[in-house]
Symmetry: C2
């Protein structure tokens, strides 16, 4: 029951709902009202009902939401059951940390390979993920479906590496390089983790309170 | 010339302006019109003029913006010249990676110390930053001003550690734990890097294109 043209703000709240519902489900909560869900998340109940109405009707007036069902439905909307395939480009400190710490499979992603230019890393395995040479990108992508490339490479090579990956058919980029990447292809999607932007927003908030 | 009640959306665009202007300045660009700045950033010129009008007048009609002045002004609004002091709580893989890779000083932050429970780390120095025991938090904070605590600790201890730091007077938290932290004190500011939310937004975008 997906509607068209869901606003960016609604989409950005969906993972928060999913996270909160996962937490409630883990705590054994079976049913929750929009007002109690709102209290937990610091969102108004009417905002919640409005957000969910973009995707159809999940609750029943007066009965609240079934936590397990709602979590599963929002997970489905987010695509966590789509079994996405991801590769990591760049296995420096940050790439290592993400491989070690981030629960990819919980979020519906399989990490199939990592790529680096460092000959000391190529041929090794990190957390079960084989590290390949950047020279092997073309042959790997000829044989494997890759939905998302996670980029933790130097800024100086970020756009050119993105272009190379796009030419090989990759259409999703999880970008940790802290520069804006662009594509002429509207099917290509970028999602950025901008550490500096985040810290500067905090800087603003503590400087202007 | 700061106005009150700047919207969250405007604040969240400020670091992007700062980043783009830093890039232009580095490339030797002296002056830029709002329409050309907009093209570089994929924002409309009128949006840019409207955003900047929240903070006073930066450009002159028909002459565009002086890149160096505007960069400096936005940096000032963001507080990059406030010499903020930061400590890192948790020096696992992610804490290490951030210490190694993130240009704190470029963003106006000095990293004064890191804290961990791992006895193998305590007493060492990472990228010039001394690693202290968590037991030393109280004595350190009694003697040093700390504006922001960067949290890369397990979720199970995140809120309790935050409470401990708030009791010691810390009012800014850069939160990498992927859980929501809360405070009753409106002066306490949280800024979250939610890796999972970001990847799920990308998952949504590639599942619904």
């Amino acid at each position: 029951m997906k509607k068209e043209n869901i606003s960016d703000a609604v989409v950005r709240r969906l993972p928060r709902y999913y996270r909160q519902l996962t937490d409630l489900y883990t705590r054994g909560v079976v049913r929750i009202s929009s007002s109690n869900l709102g209290k937990e998340m610091n969102i108004t109940a009417s905002q919640i009902r409005q957000d969910f109405s973009c995707f159809g009707e999940f609750g029943q007036q007066g009965y609240g939401y079934n936590v397990e069902e709602l979590r599963s439905e929002i997970g489905h909307i987010l695509g966590v059951d789509n079994n996405h395939h991801l590769i990591i480009i760049g296995v420096g400190n940050l790439g290592h940390a993400i491989l070690h710490n981030f629960p990819f499979s919980q979020n519906g992603f399989a990490v199939d390979a990592a790529f680096d230019v460092n000959p000391d890393l190529v041929g090794t395995t990190i957390c079960g993920v084989p590290v390949c040479s950047m020279d092997q990108l073309e042959s790997f992508l000829a044989e494997h479906r890759v939905d998302v490339a996670l980029l933790t490479i130097p800024q100086s090579v970020a756009q050119e590496t993105t272009n190379r990956l796009m030419n090989l058919g990759v259409k999703g980029f999880w970008n940790f390089t802290n520069i804006e990447l662009t594509s002429d292809n509207p099917d290509v999607k970028f999602e950025n983790i901008h550490f500096a932007d985040s810290l500067l927003i905090l800087s603003y908030r503590i400087s202007n309170r």
